[in-house]
């Protein structure tokens, strides 16, 4: 029996094209795949850019440009199956429904909602805060903390490696509890034959030699919120009396980096309208102070705050990100670590070829727990009644969780459906979206151009490393989530 079939009509598939080191690359959007391509592929894309073509016409066009018929047929077949070109019979990727139960990997424990600083841009206390801490405990107590650890162990399924991140307020204002949690969690994890690791974020004001020693001995990763050299750091990171915190933390940070040898020490910089000299901040934190990694993020704010960074500020920031990214490449070619974590974090995701249903793990593999034991999608929503996802004593409120996840799902974000950067961005931070648009599921349209430009830059860096020192990318091959 012979089946008569219509000849295929080809069109371009969904991809983003980029160049680096005089080589041509494709980023296949639905998959998150990165390929180096040759001239024949470029010819094919050029041919189909003018419009759809029937199979035979496409073969004719390719042979006219110098390919043999068998080469043209082979090229078309390869590109069709890879999804670089599509036809009416191409299978459209169906989105997978979320699993009913998604094991938790990370629990962010807000040990206190109190802080000894009064940073004006703080999302927990500032003008755009979502937290409603009135009438709730200010410090987490031991029973709640233990219940949180038990909750994490019970809800993490068969994951071998699980994480606890300590957060605040200022985390170290409840250091006695932190110590007890580490001891308790280690004991419990050992009983079950699992690995648990810890990290914390701090403003560094309360670090002491004893605390540093404890953190080092227990392999606790430390991120310091710090905005750069004194004149920048002190603009917004101030005590209640308005005095800057730089002079207090500088010697403590040096002592931390000097004496905590078991995990890399990271700085996390919040960029604002007055603090936007990325390169100078990076040099100071990386070279003068000696942080292993420095990461930057623009402040989360509603558009009209004085400190919000604005379009011009975002452009300036991007320009400087490019300079540091180029520098990162030179380091990578020599096989050295540069320390600009905005690049390394993106390269890690590109190496895996992530294609996210949600912008991050919030509400999925990560939850926040507040001093009261309230569960939240992440630390940024802790203590907010509106966003609570249950309580540590009663477990996850599955209905609220489903609502949160459904809102945040890329399928619900129509603006994103034509964007090539969606596999990595997936609409951006839920919290930022809520602050800007009043809905955690709203795509963060105010930084789309920025994200696309930055993703393109990171793709170029990735391509360049793949050409000049492919072994460097090996460090990103280990998948975190697979542990």
């Amino acid at each position: 029996m012979t089946l008569a079939t219509e000849p295929r009509v080809y069109r371009l598939g969904e991809f983003h094209r980029f160049e680096s080191q005089d080589s041509e690359f494709l980023y296949l959007v639905p998959a998150g795949a990165i390929f180096a391509v040759d001239e024949a592929v470029a010819k094919l894309i050029a041919t189909l850019s003018a419009g759809e073509l029937e199979h035979q016409h496409l073969v004719d066009a390719l042979t006219a440009s110098g390919l043999s018929i068998s080469d043209a047929e082979e090229l078309i077949s390869e590109m069709y199956h890879a999804g670089v070109i599509a036809a009416s019979d191409s299978i459209r990727e169906q989105t997978q429904p979320l699993p009913d139960v998604f094991p938790i990997q990370t629990l962010v424990m807000n040990l206190t909602n109190q802080c000894n600083l009064s940073c004006q841009y703080c999302y927990e206390f500032g003008a755009d805060k979502v937290a409603t801490p009135e009438g709730k405990p200010k410090f987490m107590d031991l029973p709640t903390a233990k219940a949180s650890v038990d909750f994490l162990l019970a809800q993490s399924g068969d994951r071998r490696a699980i994480h606890i991140t300590f957060f605040g307020g200022e985390t170290l204002m409840n250091f006695p509890l932190l110590k007890e949690v580490v001891t308790y969690a280690n004991e419990k994890a050992k009983e079950q034959g699992r690995n648990i690791d810890f990290s914390l974020t701090t403003n560094a004001t309360l670090l002491t030699p004893a605390i540093i020693q404890f953190l080092s001995e227990n392999h606790i990763g430390v991120t310091v919120s710090m905005d750069g050299p004194k004149e920048m750091h002190d603009q917004l990171r101030v005590f209640a009396n308005g005095k800057g915190s730089y002079d207090i933390i500088e010697p403590k940070v040096r002592a931390l980096i000097e004496n905590h040898r078991t995990r890399p020490i990271t700085a996390r910089v919040t960029l604002t309208s007055g603090v936007s000299d990325v390169i100078r901040i990076f040099r100071h934190l990386k070279q003068d102070l000696g942080f292993h990694e420095v990461g930057f993020a623009p402040v989360t704010s509603s558009p009209n705050q004085l400190y919000s960074i604005g379009q011009k500020g975002m452009d300036g920031m991007l320009e400087q990100f490019h300079v540091l990214a180029d520098e990162y490449l030179e380091y990578a070619v020599r096989g050295e670590a540069h320390g600009f974590s905005n690049v390394s974090d993106t390269l890690a995701e590109l190496c895996q070829g992530v294609n996210k249903s949600h912008p991050c793990g919030a509400g999925l593999g990560l939850l926040g727990v507040g001093p009261s034991g309230d569960l939240a999608p992440c630390h940024r929503f802790v203590d907010s009644d509106q966003h609570a996802l249950g309580h540590i004593s009663t477990g996850i409120d599955r209905e609220k969780q489903a609502d949160f996840l459904q809102r945040g799902h890329i399928d619900s974000k129509y603006d994103c459906h034509t964007c090539w950067a969606r596999p990595l961005c997936a609409g951006g931070c839920h919290h930022e979206a809520f602050v800007r648009y009043g809905d955690t599921g709203h795509p963060n349209l105010h930084y789309c151009d920025w994200i696309r430009d930055w993703t393109n830059k990171c793709l170029e860096i990735y391509g360049a490393i793949a050409v000049r020192n492919p072994g460097f990318l090996q460090q990103f091959a280990e998948r975190k989530a697979a542990q």
Partner: protein, 111 residues
């Protein structure tokens, strides 16, 4: 793939998929441009059990048919009936340290 080089994990998966769709199953003796993925087989080493030698003949092969299963047992993916080396015949090759010398020690297994 001929025209694209996979640079990340997803690309590698697509590469595999495309190969499975565009390449065909071919015989070991088929010297066409497309080479078989596996196996290298007996053309390069003494390995009792392959039907033909490097020249395409049977001159280098002298084992009785029972020995045919040796290579399937040791290293090959081929879905042949081989001694169950996990449970019932774990020591089947214990007397065959070097295939070129000891192949006669491979015995037939009776259930």
């Amino acid at each position: 793939m001929k025209h694209m080089r996979a640079l990340n994990k997803k690309a590698a998966r697509i590469d595999n998929y495309v190969s499975s769709r565009t390449e065909d199953v071919i015989a070991l003796q088929d010297h066409s441009a497309q080479r078989p993925h596996v196996p290298m087989g007996c053309a390069l080493m003494f390995s009792p059990g392959w039907e033909v030698d490097a020249a395409g003949g049977t001159a280098g092969l002298c084992q009785p048919v029972e020995r045919d299963i040796y290579d399937c047992f040791v290293s090959c993916y081929w879905p042949a009936q081989v001694p169950d080396h996990l449970n019932n015949a774990t020591d089947w090759i214990s007397k065959c340290a070097t295939a070129t010398k000891d192949w006669r020690n491979l015995d037939i297994i009776f259930p």
